[in-house]
């Protein structure tokens, strides 16, 4: 949620049961403003909260002018002091995929994972049990990245692509109409497109290159339970 429209967005998202208490909201508002100024981001988004056993992580992301550029992720434990997280790499993903269970809430906590590794000692090859230490920060980074890649969604028309490459916020976007909002095809993944090249030429012909430059939600697997569009005042 954009730092500027934070309160409104929090209200809208409260239907699923997650909310923030008033003091947290207040502290978020002020601290996100400061983050924006200090790091000189174009937009600061409150990404969300990851629950831990002892404490919760509050995550924010900063975007530069180009909306599709890799974002900087920050975390905080008290909504006041933010620390930058390292960008995610594939190595991290592989490493942290073995860790299961909840976050502890302590960023310096290390998970221990015993692995069987083949160690080449001269000519012999024998397996050793190696205890791999995985830091919780690393796990945090990779989890955030995975979540972003999977579920970060943007409506069609909110961003547009200039011919020079960068992607900008569309100031003339007024929102989707009711019929459009129900269709999954009017939402896109907010990440580097993966499937665009796989489309047939016919499909490509229908696309509007300045608006349709991202993956649509329509073809996500599994169908039917991947995404549902809910409308109404209830949630």
């Amino acid at each position: 949620m954009d730092a500027e429209s934070l309160l409104l967005s929090l209200e809208l998202a409260s239907g699923s049961g997650q909310g923030l208490s008033p003091d947290r909201r207040a502290s978020l508002l002020t601290s996100l403003m400061l983050v924006k100024r200090d790091y000189r981001y174009d937009r600061v988004l409150f990404w969300g909260r990851i629950l831990g056993l002892v404490a919760d992580y509050y995550i924010a992301q900063g975007l530069s002018e180009d909306q599709l550029a890799p974002r900087k992720t920050l975390y905080s434990l008290n909504c006041m002091e933010w620390s930058l997280l390292p960008p995610a790499t594939d190595e991290m993903m592989v490493q942290t995929s073995v860790v299961k269970g909840r976050f502890t809430g302590d960023p310096s906590h290390e998970y221990e994972h015993t692995e069987l590794q083949k160690v080449n000692d001269g000519e012999k090859v024998f397996e050793e049990e190696v205890v791999v230490q995985i830091k919780e920060e690393t796990r945090l980074v990779s989890i955030i990245d995975q979540i972003d890649k999977a579920v970060s969604v943007i409506p069609r028309g909110a961003l547009f692509k200039t011919p020079f490459g960068p992607v900008h916020v569309n100031r003339t976007f007024e929102g989707l109409s009711l019929s459009q909002a129900k269709k999954l095809s009017s939402y896109f993944h907010f990440r580097e497109p993966v499937e665009l090249k796989n489309k047939t030429l016919l499909e490509k012909a229908d696309l509007d290159p300045s608006l349709d430059f991202l993956d649509s939600l329509e073809h996500d697997i599994p169908k039917g339970c991947g995404w549902t569009a809910l409308l109404g005042a209830d949630f």
Binding site: G15, S16, G17, S21, D23, R24, S27, L51, L53, V54, N78, K100, G101, R102, G157, F160, K161, T162, P163, T172, L178, S179, K204, A205, D206, L207, D208, P209, S210, L211, C225, T228, L230, L231, G232, A233, D234, F235
Partner: protein, 684 residues
Amino acid sequence: MEDLTSLKQEDNQEPEEAEQPWEEITAASSQDPVPGLPEPLESEQGPETGLQPGSSPPQSSQSRTSTPLNDLTGLGASSPPSFPQEPTSTPSTLALARQDLWSPWKSDKTTSVIPEARTAHSNHLEQSSDKGESAPHQKCQSEGNTFQQSQQTKHHLHEPKDASHNNSKLKELRLDIFQEEDSNSNYDLDHPEPGTSEVTPNMLEIAIQNAKAYLLKTSSKSGLNLYDHLSNMLTKILDERPENAVDIIENISQDVKMAHFSKKLDTLQNEYEMLPIYETAEKQKALFLQGNLEGADQELEDEILTDAHPIQRCRFWGKILGLEMNYIVAEVEFREGEDEEEMEEEDVTEERDNGDSEADEDDEDELPKSLYKAPQAIPKEESRTGANKYVYFVCNEPGGPWVKLPSVTPAQIVIARKIKKFFTGRLDTPIISYPPFPGNESNYLRAQIARISAGTHVSPLGFYQFGEEEGEEEEEVEGGRESFEENPDFEGIQVTDLVESLSNWVHHVQHILPQGRCNWFNPVQKNEEEEEEEDEEKEEEEKGEEPDYIGQEVGPPLLTPISEDLEIQNIPPWTTRLSSNLIPQYAIAVLRSNLWPGAYAFSNGKKFENFYIGWGHKYSPDSYTPPVPPPVYQEYPSGPEITEMDDPSVEEEQAFRAAQAAAELAAEENEETEEDEDEEDEYD
């Protein structure tokens, strides 16, 4: 036709984003003095009467010196193939539209039209970047290309969009444009000498004007003119992009004509969508207004839960999220004596089973009796006790009608533990799963609510206490105390204490045993009763299959502190928090369940509350795997009757018969000898 091919190549090279430039022309783009003429340039192409495919976007120039391009009309005017440039300052632009579509364009768009004077050229548009001003549009991919070509290269013209047409698509039109401009210094001067062409452009111009004038001629009957009609039609087609437009073009034409007449009724078409939100909002408004009135409408009664049913206590239990709709759940306790009807399904099924078994006995050839005895259905608990202590009502939206959920049976709970399904939001959805769930979504919902309540409803220590009953000792065997009541002397616990230690909280809902009930039910006892009722035959068989002694299942007794809850993989089952770190004196203690994500309990020391908002599933660190089906059951005991044996082969049969015959002979001989002996004896 090399030009064509090269043109096509260029087409393909164009990035996709530049594919469809398209603009709208307003009929009032009166800046176009000269109508475009479609013209086949090549001599081989005959005069084309209509618009041809491959239209190119005309563009209007922003500079004052160049004349804006004009709209393209499809006319079958034949014209000489090549046109040299004219040194006049009034350019006459000729556009050849190759496509049926021709798009008008705004005059404020930049044009780049390069005169092309070669017969060899097929339709392209060539742009002249003479103006040097590319359109300040966001979509000016076209501008970047094809400029500054001094030769008659073929380029595409891409229509830059007007700023106000962000969402319109541009169609690529190919034109042959002949334009002479003094400022266009980019074209090649290899074109045919101007000498001969001085006369022909004029004629061409006149021809074009005539053609356009003809098109603009107003019909006496309807007041329309063909020019406008065609432009409207093509606009509509490009907007809507129907499939197989060429097949339905006549219908489209008719529709456009009809629309012209019904213009005044436009307001009807702007009917606001009846959003379903509006309907519910209206209903809710009625509820709000009607609050204190006594004469409630019949319809609205459903929505006011407390009025419709005789309820003693009603509590907001929580919200369960679903795929299509959500459920809002209310926990209700009925007044004494107002029990709802009980289901009588169980008795019916038992009777049916008995009937089947009797039918089997009547068969002459008795089929081997199946020794499979279905696990006996465990009867559900009585209302108001155990898992069915409360009755739950659900509704989909606030203001919607409340629906009562049926009581839960132990079988449902047992199977609900093994499956994991999302709720859709409609109560009658069937649950298709393995093991098969007995019931539809309302039963599954009720089972999950029961499990969540049993697992996560906690209260501060001391809030409830056991009531003093006389017959306590006798009932202890049955599974512990069942009832509790509020402790009037409860003084409250410090919030910090509540947060620090989990032993300050206790469960106040009975734990559900693996059997599915709260109170242990011994199925062995019932077996003995059933045996007496049935026939002896069956009795014998059943005795052979008597189940092993089932140990009594015991769960933690009521009011146990939650510090005794089991952990999952080293994760404590509950997490405590203070609601606010900044103002600890006003903070409340919040308890979050790690076992059922979404279950919360909070207390400010004296008062407490539990509720749940979530999907209705238990937490498991691993993904859900459905249970495997049980091994195939050995239904019948193997014995000579049903064991399969190979049919004897011919040799074996013959050998058998021979042996039999031999045996008979032997027997006869024996008899004869015996008879002989007897006779002999008799003779003696």
